[in-house]
């Protein structure tokens, strides 16, 4: 079915089709339409929408609902996303699948509520204290606001982790006609086969793509943000601490190729533009609009884990790598980690809440 949707509406509808039946949030520009769409449509699908007292509560209540067996999500923007960091860490530590949509606006602080930037890229990786497995996806248009919401939920359910989907103000409020399928397929967690007496919530065969129990099934599971053993109870033993940290890391390391998602256009050309989200439209115009262009393009749909290995191969021998992003060089720093001195790096940044234009890129080149 064709639908004229804003990015926010596409995201909300995708989540409902993917089986999200619990949404908790707090009003914040420019993400509010996701909550509003959920408020009207969630009850019709048998789910619960709740407006919580703040973002601290929103993120924790979706973790509670997910631990009780219902696919759950929240949506927010910069200031609210900052408040959610403690909850994101807790979701990772307890391995509870959750989707957090961050519709980026300008920062720091209250910043630019009605204008978009891409300044929260590093925060999605390091915003919550401690080493945490981070998964972040980034959509470039309304169509992807839909498809990547579905994918984010699939990843969260498979890997038992919080997944962050980055939209920005431009995509959130842009309206496009997109195809909405009647149904979408996502991984849905299954109940364990074992009896409760034999069941171990965090045993090694149960790290990802495996059945596990939720509250109310009789498995009497214990969730804690304290570093814990396989049975979920806290520990201070070095060996068990190492085991838990490795287990979290393995969720990412074992699934790198599944998580990796990049769009590649003309990688054979001498120079490459790297971009993501709203940075991609102007960049693509330069690459695709001109047969003579000396620029190829790499666009990150999955930002974290960063595709270091793939990019290292693709960027080998390139003269110039241009990183187009609406922040002060957050992805540029990652690209520098994998390029040699022979490759020049040029960052094209904009943080005033306006989109980067193709001319701006042309001029900089």
């Amino acid at each position: 079915m064709k639908k004229l949707f804003s990015g926010n509406e596409a995201c909300a509808e995708a989540a409902l089709l993917a089986g999200v039946r619990f949404f908790a949030g707090y009003p914040i520009t420019p993400s509010t339409e996701i909550a509003e769409y959920m408020a009207s449509n969630m009850p019709k699908r048998g789910g619960k929408f709740i407006q919580m007292e703040d973002e601290l509560a929103s993120i924790i209540s979706i973790i509670g609902a997910s631990a009780a067996g219902v696919k759950s999500m929240t949506a927010t923007s910069g200031p609210g996303f900052s408040l959610m960091q403690e909850g994101i860490g807790y979701a990772a530590m307890t391995e509870t699948p959750t989707l957090i949509v961050n519709v980026m606006r300008g920062g720091p602080s209250t910043g630019l509520p009605t204008k978009g930037t891409q300044q929260d890229v590093m925060q999605t990786k390091w915003g919550s204290h401690g080493d945490r497995p981070s998964i972040t996806l980034s959509a470039e248009n309304v169509k992807e606001a839909f498809s990547l919401t579905v994918r984010s939920i699939d990843i969260a359910e498979r890997l038992r982790l919080p997944v962050i989907l980055l939209l920005d103000e431009f995509i959130a409020h842009m309206r496009e006609v997109i195809d909405i399928p009647e149904r979408v397929t996502v991984y849905s967690r299954q109940k364990p086969d074992e009896d409760p007496q034999e069941y171990v919530h965090y045993d090694d065969k149960r790290n990802y793509n495996a059945p596990y129990a939720w509250f109310g099934l009789g498995y009497k599971i214990h969730l804690t943000g304290l570093t814990h053993r396989k049975d979920g109870f806290p520990t201070n033993k070095e060996e068990e601490i190492r085991w838990k940290m490795k287990r979290l890391r393995k969720k990412i390391d074992d699934n790198l190729s599944f998580l990796e998602d990049i769009e590649i256009i003309h990688p054979e050309r001498d120079n490459i533009i790297i971009t993501f989200g709203s940075g991609s439209r102007p960049s693509k115009e330069l690459v695709e609009g001109d047969e003579q262009s000396k620029f190829g393009l790499i666009r990150l749909r999955t930002i974290w884990p960063f595709p270091y290995n793939t990019l290292e191969t693709l960027l080998k021998g390139k003269k110039l790598v241009v990183v187009v992003e609406m922040n002060e060089g957050q992805i540029e720093g990652e690209v520098k980690k994998i390029t040699s001195d022979k490759t020049s790096i040029l960052g094209i940044h904009r943080v005033d809440g306006e989109l980067i234009s193709p001319d701006e890129i042309r001029e900089a080149l």
Partner: protein, 278 residues
Amino acid sequence: MTHTPWVHDLLRMDDRFPHVWCAGCGIGIVMGSIIRVMKKLNLLPENTCLVSGIGCTSRMPGYLNTDTMHVLHGRALPAATGIKLANPDMNVLVVGGDGDMLAIGGNHLIHAAHRNLDMLVIIINNFNYGMTGGQMSPTTPEEMKASTAPYGNIEEPINAVNLALGAGASFVARTTVVNTGQMDNFIQKGMQKKGFAIIDVIANCPTLFGRWNKMVEPVDMMKWIQKNTIPLSKAEKMNEEEIENKFVTGIFRDVEKEEYLEKHKRICGDKGEGCAKK
């Protein structure tokens, strides 16, 4: 033949004991009461979830043999809200200390109370932060001492009962660890209440609050609690000055109000098909 007491069914008896609490601590007394009431009401552990934040009280989920969630500091109530909305069949029970519930979690308490979602919240109120070493809390009585109030507390303490009444909870009561009969009774009433129920349990922390305030033995602080307790029926006949700094115990409110999920069904037309699968 060894005899296994029935309470063991409701405790995680593998390697979780001995528990972390100090000898003489009041928290275990409250856990005992919860277990007795669960047994009495025949609440299935399979269908019960105990949720807590962070603190000495909040270690209780580690011992109760139900589904348990030890959440972040102050955040037990939002987690409990998510659990109850996802699975309305579950009995949701929340425990927390005075710091957890009234300081860092104070905003959540106000909103959970006014929402009137069906759950029982027990505040184990021992006037200080035990887990971090005896700092002052929102309920530390004026001029009593704590490690961050070495000259005596300057701030007027928060009255949890008044807060809950103001926020609109359906059931509000206060009891003490000294009066376990009353505590059992209130916890039972709170568990049976359809709607948001909250009980402020005045408790002793002999190790820290007690020592800071010249009540060195566990029983000293119990005696202090007992001495300063006034039943509501008596307090109603006293003036404000007479009940200042006293622990007024009793049921302050017990009303029937339409519960959140019932309202959700009525107003939003929810049929509940999106709830957790069994």
